[in-house]
């Protein structure tokens, strides 16, 4: 693999990480902690939304984030021909 495609691959990898970790931060630290009181004004069924993010929602998002990462990285690996057999 030449230096240029190596750099491109790494740059795209970092971009994926950056987007996913931003969502990771927003759903947990953002919705569950920093803006919990504002979100608690909104109610869905028996849940105040901020409380729901802190005790349920953030965890569901975490799971989805990892699987999105797996799919995106497998695609990226193929694109740059660095995937494993």
């Amino acid at each position: 693999m030449d230096t240029k495609s190596r750099k491109d691959y790494w740059k795209k990898n970092i971009r994926i990480l950056f987007i996913l970790l931003t969502i990771w931060f927003i759903v947990s630290f953002g919705f569950g902690i920093l803006f919990v009181e504002q979100l608690n004004q909104i109610k869905i069924a028996g849940f105040k939304l901020g409380f729901w993010f802190a005790q349920q929602g953030s965890i569901y998002f975490f799971v989805v984030l990892i699987f999105v990462y797996v799919v995106r990285m497998n695609r990226l690996d193929k694109e740059f021909n660095v995937n494993e057999e």
Binding site: F29, K48, I59, V63, F67, Y69, D77, V82
Partner: protein
Amino acid sequence: MEILTWTYILVGLSFALYIGIAIYTRAGSTKEFYTAGGGVSPLANGMATAADWMSAASFISMAGIIAFSGYDGSVYLMGWTGGYVLLALLLAPYLRKFGKFTVPDFVGDRYYSNKARVVAVFCALFICFTYVSGQMRGVGIVFSRYLEVDINTGVLIGMAIVFFYAVLGGMKGITYTQVAQYCVLIFAFMVPAIFISMQLTGNPIPQLGFGDTVGDGTYLLDKLDGVLTEMGFNEYTSGKKSMVDVFAITLALMVGTAGLPHVIVRFFTVPRVKDARLSAGYALVFIAILYTTAPAVAAFGMYNAIDTLVGQPVDQLPEWVTNWQKTNLIEIRDVNQDGIVQYTPQEETNEMIIDKDIMVLASPEIANLPNWVVGLVAAGGMAAALSTAAGLLLVISTSVSRDLFRTFVPSMTEKTELLIARISAAVAVVIAGYFGINPPGFVAQVVAFAFGLAAASFFPVIIMGIFSTRINKEGAIAGMLTGLVFTLGYIIYFKFGMELFGLSEQAVSPDNWWFGISPEGIGTVGMILNVIACYVVSKMTPPPPQHVQDIIQDIRIPRGAGEAHHH
């Protein structure tokens, strides 16, 4: 059948299963002992990671902690799951590609220094020992509660079982027993949760029942908020901790999770880089099943306790209360002699004292479930405690045999190394058992701090070792030491300062916490200091040599991971 009979049968069967698996999958080489030969499927590894990760505390105590702290309990829920995102995205794939056996292995090679390796071994051993002592105590408590033996006998039985399969089976044996233990523990946790959710809300899925209505048509959480504020407590859905502290504790737990050596090492056991990524995803699914159910169990438990006890005549309490009063986990005392149970935040007037563990332990009885469910919960609690203890012991033995002996006596044969690994596992079991039987007063408290220490020591140097080619050995050593010393110093000052240095109560009070951050959350600050020290020192000293820069370039590309290999 009696509860005790069911307990003996179910616990006995599960133990026979673990031992059978251990004999069938025993390790024959160091590679199998350290990383199960690198051939574990991502799904199996995900289950094993989940069992390894969820300790007796997750299984027995967490729901109760949340029940009594409400929103503040969220720090554990987010903290102990969010770390897996960091692990999957930032650590697991690269460490798998690196392809050695332990975290100190990585630190030693990446920072081309045996000093850095030894510092890392020291951190790993320190974290694992504090953690495992708590687990052995947990094993003892679970055994004593269910098998009606005393705690020390319980610890001894636990030692014998762990000894058998950790020493004999190594990572290979542990991995497959952990898969079985996960199945036992999740089944045991979910069955009572589903029944209770149905009884209270009519919804069989606890995660949804949590937000559903109870008998009189009001929402469960609204009802809890209302009843608790009426009695003078905080609302269930809002907390007491300051926002900055909740933030710091959550971050320290997340990063600490991703830095725990016994969790990281699990990702060395899968065949490929893509399997390491996928495996972290599976692990979090399996963990999330318990972690999203636990807050529901907490709210159900709190509601049940208030509904069936508070305001009731003291002489007409349900049968489970009388049963559990014998264990001192629940205490009803009629302070004002009016014959009615009152629950208040003030210690002098409160008449209902409930141990946090009861929310899970007594849940089958509270919900009037058949006796076999009680036996099942017992088997689940033991599975949780044993699987975590075994995983930690393995890291300890690997650190000693591989990171210390192999580094300094490189001429040793594979057979000798395997023998040393087994002997150190055996010694570690005995030491952990000793601490389980004679817990130094601080062990229980220190366990909670293992996360802060992992966050402040390991995590930054591993991440920067992967994502920067400029960070060098001087920076890494400075960073690890800064993070560890600062975090340990802060914890010791505020938690043990009164006994150790004769500080006044005023000096260690929360008013003096830096930025309002509690010792539980200080790992976050330690981590930031680690990063700064690491960066500044690296800038002032020469960059790493070319062969190390090549290693870094190599671990960033998935292809060619192969099996975990020797130096």
